[in-house]
């Protein structure tokens, strides 16, 4: 029993022993590049076109960016759902959670504070309250 089922290093591809049907590595990188170019081009198009409803463009750009980050993770960093990659995925999930808390929490609190701020008045205090 010389072999053992170790975790896989992040960034390493599944070896042929782990997964007999693994596609050629060059094909994986090229697919990733193709998808990333497609998503980037769509982002630049969506930001400049007048065809789309402007209110939805920001949400669309966010979705495209998150999709492209996923493409980079899967095709360039080779993050998979396999059991030998569980530790990498768990660390990533924790990182994503913290990123979400920091970004969403900051924006929530700051928007709330801006809305509750007193209107500028002629009193001497007002100079401190203007942004």
């Amino acid at each position: 029993m010389t072999e053992a089922r170790y975790d896989r290093a992040p960034g390493d591809r599944p070896t042929r022993e782990m997964q007999a049907s693994a596609p050629s590595p060059l094909f994986v990188y090229t697919t990733g590049l193709f998808l990333a170019v497609l998503l980037t081009a769509t982002s630049f198009w969506a930001a400049n076109t007048s065809l789309l409803w402007t209110g939805g463009v920001a949400l669309g750009l966010a979705v495209l960016a998150i999709a492209q980050m996923g493409v980079h993770l899967v095709f360039f960093l080779h993050i998979t759902t396999g059991p030998e990659s569980t530790n990498n995925v768990l660390a990533l999930a924790f990182g994503v959670l913290i990123v979400f808390v920091v970004v969403a929490g900051t924006m929530w609190i700051m928007v709330d504070m801006n809305q509750n701020m007193m209107m500028p008045s002629p009193a001497p205090m007002s100079t401190q309250m203007q942004r």
Binding site: Y6, D7, G11, S43, N48, H72, A91, L92, G95
Partner: protein, 210 residues
């Protein structure tokens, strides 16, 4: 019961799970530790993104993003960084198959594309500062230069690291230590590209169109 008999009775195809297999190889441990560092680096970028999103409208009467940003430059910068991420992947393949010439070639292209990205970014910053859009002009510009400048600083460090690694490949060859360091470099370079996806979407595209 005789122990050797007991071991022989274990089916050979049932490999032990990761937790039963003993210490993982150093390559796995090092790369996982670097993965944790990268995630903490991304958390730091998240804080910079959050402060940018809060301050994006605090222009204090100064220039706004729509007046300052040139989408053509950003598109070329994005293309450079994406292509260099791809060639960095090709470099990893050359390293794994121990092909020295391909490793050097892919590293050279990766370095050139990264340097082109950096040149465009520095020129963009210089143009902005020349027309008075300096970091001290408004809170928006402070947040902009902190976020985008921090990413540019990471790219600079990556280029220095790549140069050092190529010297190590030339001097030490592709031994296990150098291969581990190159794996960490590849992780770092791909992670920078992921951060750039956020930068060009949040800063440039949303800043120009909205």
């Amino acid at each position: 019961m005789n122990i050797s008999v007991a071991i022989d009775s274990v089916p050979q195809d049932a490999l032990p799970s990761a937790s039963e297999a003993g210490p993982a190889p150093k390559r796995v441990v090092v790369a996982f530790g670097f993965w944790i560092f990268l995630l903490s680096d991304i958390v730091m970028f998240a804080a910079l993104f959050a402060s940018y999103a809060v301050l994006v409208h605090a222009t204090a009467g100064g220039p706004t993003g729509a007046q300052l940003f040139n989408q053509k430059t950003v598109a070329i910068e994005t293309a450079c960084l994406l292509a260099s991420s791809y060639t960095c992947g090709l470099m990893s393949l050359a390293i794994n198959s121990r092909r020295y010439f391909r490793t050097y070639l892919a590293a050279l292209i990766t370095f050139a594309l990264g340097a082109a990205f950096l040149t465009l970014e520095i020129r963009e910053f210089a143009n902005m500062i020349a027309i008075g859009a300096t970091p001290e002009r408004s809170a928006f510009l402070s947040a902009f230069f902190t976020l985008v400048g921090c990413h540019g600083l990471h790219v600079t460090l990556g280029l220095i690291w790549l140069t050092v690694m190529m010297v190590q490949v030339a001097v030490m060859g592709l031994d296990a230590t150098v291969q581990r360091r190159l794996l960490c470099f590849a992780l770092f370079w791909h992670a920078l590209d992921i951060v750039w996806v956020g930068v060009f979407t949040v800063v440039y595209l949303m800043g120009v169109s909205l």
